[in-house]
C-alpha cells in the first residue's frame, strides 16, 4: 500500500521556507524553527503571509508536491504546480463522461449513496455510544434522521435523473444537519447549532466545519490531480469558474467521517472551546490562530488512523482513502470497473 506522506501546514506569519540539501527548513526572523526531510512531504499548505523560496518551489513542482496558499481564515488563494501531470487521454475521457448524462447519473448516485450512508453512520454511532444519555428529543431526532436517510438511500438507488438526485441530497442534508445538534455533547450554549451556514459562517460549529471542509477539499484535489484527473470538472457539481468541482464531488463521501466527526470530537472533548473563536461585527465567526493549529494537528492525526478499505479489502490510513477513491474513479472512467464504488464507512 502506498505510504501516507505528510502535509506540511505552515501557519506562522512571516515564515520563510527553503530547501537545504534533502530537508525543508522553516525560518522565522532568520532563525531556524523547523526542519523535515523533503522526501516525507506530499503537500505544502501555507496560511497567511508565508514565503516559499523559488528553489523549494522548483523542487515541489518536480516532485508533484502541491503548494497551496490560503488566507489565515482558510480561504483558498492560489496554488503552484509544475507541468500538468497525468494522461491527456484520461482527462478527455473524464470530460466526455461529465458531458454525458448516461454516464453522470450512476456516478452521482454512488457518490451520494456514499455520502448519505456515511452521514447515517455518524448518527447511528452517536445513538449506539450515547443513546441512553441523550435527551429524549435528541434521541428521537437522531432516530428519525437515521430512518429518513435510509429511505433516501433507497430512493437514490432507484433514481435516474441527476436533478432528482441532487434534490434528494438536499433533503438528506436538511435532515442530517437538522439533528446535528444532537451529536454535540456539550451542555453549554456556546456550541448551539441551528443549521448549516457558510460564507461567512455565523456560529462556532459552522466556522469549524467550514475550516475542516477546506482542508478536506484540498486533500481531495491533490488526490485527483495525482491520479491525473481534472479537479475542476465534476459530475455532481457542475462547472463554475474557480470551483474545484470534482474535488467537491469526491469530498462528499468524506465530509461526515473526516470533517464532521472530527469537529464533534474537538468540541465534545473540549479541545476547542468557545474562547477559541471571535465574532466579527458583521456576525461572521472566526477561528483563532491557536485553535487552527489544534484543528490541523488533530486532522493530521485522524488521517493516520488505519481502516480496511471496504472495496479493496486492504488496510489503509484514512488519509489515503481520498487517493484510493480517486484511483477507483479513474479506473471506472477508463472502463476497468463497471461502476464507481463509493467509500462506505462501517
Amino acid at each position: 500500500m502506498r505510504r501516507l506522506l505528510n502535509t506540511l501546514y505552515v501557519t506562522s506569519e512571516g515564515a520563510w521556507l527553503k530547501i537545504d540539501g534533502a530537508n525543508i527548513v522553516m525560518m522565522i526572523e532568520s532563525e531556524e524553527r523547523g526542519r523535515i526531510p523533503a522526501h516525507m512531504l506530499e503537500s505544502l499548505v501555507c496560511f497567511g503571509r508565508v514565503l516559499v523560496s523559488p528553489p523549494l518551489m522548483a523542487y515541489c513542482c518536480e516532485q508533484a508536491i502541491a503548494i497551496s496558499y490560503f488566507t489565515p481564515n482558510g480561504r483558498f488563494q492560489a496554488r503552484v504546480e509544475g507541468p500538468v501531470s497525468g494522461n491527456v487521454l484520461l482527462r478527455r475521457t473524464q470530460y466526455r463522461a461529465t458531458d454525458d448524462p448516461e454516464r453522470c447519473v450512476p456516478i452521482i448516485r454512488h457518490l451520494l449513496i456514499g455520502k448519505i450512508h456515511n452521514q447515517r453512520a455518524v448518527a447511528r454511532r452517536q445513538l449506539r455510544d450515547r443513546g441512553d444519555r441523550l435527551h429524549d428529543a435528541d434521541r428521537r431526532a437522531l432516530e428519525s434522521t437515521v430512518k429518513r436517510l435510509e429511505r433516501i438511500g433507497t430512493r437514490l438507488l432507484e433514481t435516474y435523473d441527476a436533478q432528482v438526485l441532487r434534490g434528494l441530497e438536499g433533503e438528506a442534508a436538511q435532515s442530517y444537519f437538522g439533528s446535528f445538534a444532537a451529536l454535540i455533547n456539550s451542555e453549554e450554549d456556546e456550541f448551539v447549532f441551528s443549521g448549516r451556514n457558510r460564507r461567512p459562517p455565523r456560529d462556532r460549529v459552522n466556522a469549524l466545519l467550514s475550516f475542516l471542509y477546506t482542508l478536506l477539499t484540498h486533500d481531495c484535489r491533490s488526490a485527483l490531480e495525482q491520479t491525473g484527473l481534472d479537479s475542476a470538472v465534476g459530475f455532481l457539481h457542475r462547472d463554475r469558474p474557480g470551483r474545484p468541482s470534482l474535488a467537491l464531488d469526491l469530498a462528499e463521501e468524506f465530509r461526515p467521517i473526516l470533517a464532521d466527526r472530527l469537529a464533534l470530537t474537538l468540541i465534545n472533548r473540549r479541545q476547542i472551546k468557545a474562547k477559541d473563536f471571535s465574532v466579527a461585527e458583521s456576525g461572521a465567526v472566526l477561528l483563532s490562530d491557536d485553535a487552527r493549529k489544534t484543528v490541523l494537528t488533530t486532522y493530521q492525526e485522524r488521517k493516520r488512523e488505519e481502516l480496511t478499505h471496504p472495496f479493496l479489502g486492504e488496510t489503509a490510513p484514512l488519509g489515503l482513502v481520498p487517493s484510493l477513491q480517486a484511483q477507483l474513479l479513474a479506473r471506472h472512467l477508463r472502463g476497468d470497473l463497471d461502476a464507481y464504488p463509493p467509500f462506505i464507512w462501517q
Binding site: E62, H110, H117, R334, A339
Partner: protein, 209 residues
C-alpha cells in the same frame, strides 16, 4: 494517434513482455509520470555524461549510444556497443548489462535484439549476435539474433505499438507470481480489478449492514 507518431521506447517491449497492463500503465496512463520522468531524466543525463568510447585490443567500444529504428518505430539507448574489424566485415555487437541474473522469460533477449535491429537499420550492417552481462553471475552470455528471436522482437514491437495506438489499458489478470513482484501493484489493484463482482452488487451487500 497517427501511426507514424507512435515511437515506442525499447524499454516498453520489456514491460509488455512482463505484462501488457503494466506496459499500458507506464506508457499510456503515465502512472508516476513525475517520478518516472525525473528518474528517466536523471538516467538520460547520466547516460549523456557517460557517452564515450574506448579502444582496447582492437575492439572499439561505444557507451550509451542513442538508437532508433524507423521501420519498427523504436527508440532507446544501447549500454555498450562493441565494434571489431573481422576478416572481411566490421563486427558490431551490442552488450547489455543487467544487475540481476538470467531470467526465464525472453525480455532481456528481446531488448538486446531490438537494439540490434536499430543498429542494423542505422548503420546498414548485419548483426549476427550480441551479449548479455549479468551482474549477479558475472557471466557474459552470448545471444544469437536468429530468425526466431528477430521474429519475436518484431511481433512484440508491433503488439506494443498497437497497444499504445489503441490507448486502452488491458484488464488486470491476477497471477500471484507476476503481480507480487510488480512495482505497480498498488496502482493496478489486480485482485480488486479482475475478480470483483459488479459494483452495484457489492454496494447492495454493503448497504445491508
Amino acid at each position: 494517434m497517427e501511426e507514424e507518431d507512435i515511437i515506442v521506447p525499447i524499454s516498453a517491449l520489456q514491460h509488455y513482455l512482463y505484462c501488457d497492463r503494466q506496459c499500458a500503465l507506464i506508457h499510456l496512463e503515465r502512472i508516476w509520470q513525475e517520478n518516472r520522468h525525473t528518474a528517466e531524466g536523471r538516467v538520460l543525463h547520466e547516460r549523456a555524461d557517460r557517452y564515450g568510447h574506448e579502444q582496447r585490443r582492437g575492439v572499439h567500444t561505444a557507451m550509451a549510444l542513442p538508437l532508433a529504428c524507423e521501420r519498427l518505430g523504436l527508440t532507446g539507448y544501447a549500454d555498450v556497443v562493441e565494434f571489431e574489424q573481422g576478416d572481411t566485415v566490421r563486427i558490431v555487437r551490442p552488450v547489455e548489462y543487467k544487475r540481476g541474473r538470467p531470467k526465464a522469460h525472453r525480455a532481456d533477449e528481446v531488448q538486446l535484439c531490438a537494439q540490434a535491429l536499430c543498429l542494423e537499420e542505422m548503420m546498414s550492417v548485419d548483426i549476427p549476435e550480441g551479449a548479455l552481462f549479468y551482474g549477479q553471475t558475472k557471466r557474459r552470455k552470448p545471444v544469437a539474433f536468429d530468425q526466431a528471436l528477430r521474429q519475436l522482437t518484431e511481433d512484440i514491437a508491433a503488439e506494443t505499438r498497437a497497444l499504445i495506438r489503441h490507448g486502452k489499458t488491458p484488464r488486470a489478470v491476477y497471477v500471484a507470481k507476476k503481480c507480487n513482484g510488480c512495482s505497480l501493484i498498488d496502482h493496478c489493484q489486480p485482485q480488486a480489478m479482475s475478480s470483483h463482482a459488479p459494483v452495484a452488487q457489492w454496494l447492495a451487500a454493503q448497504l445491508r449492514h
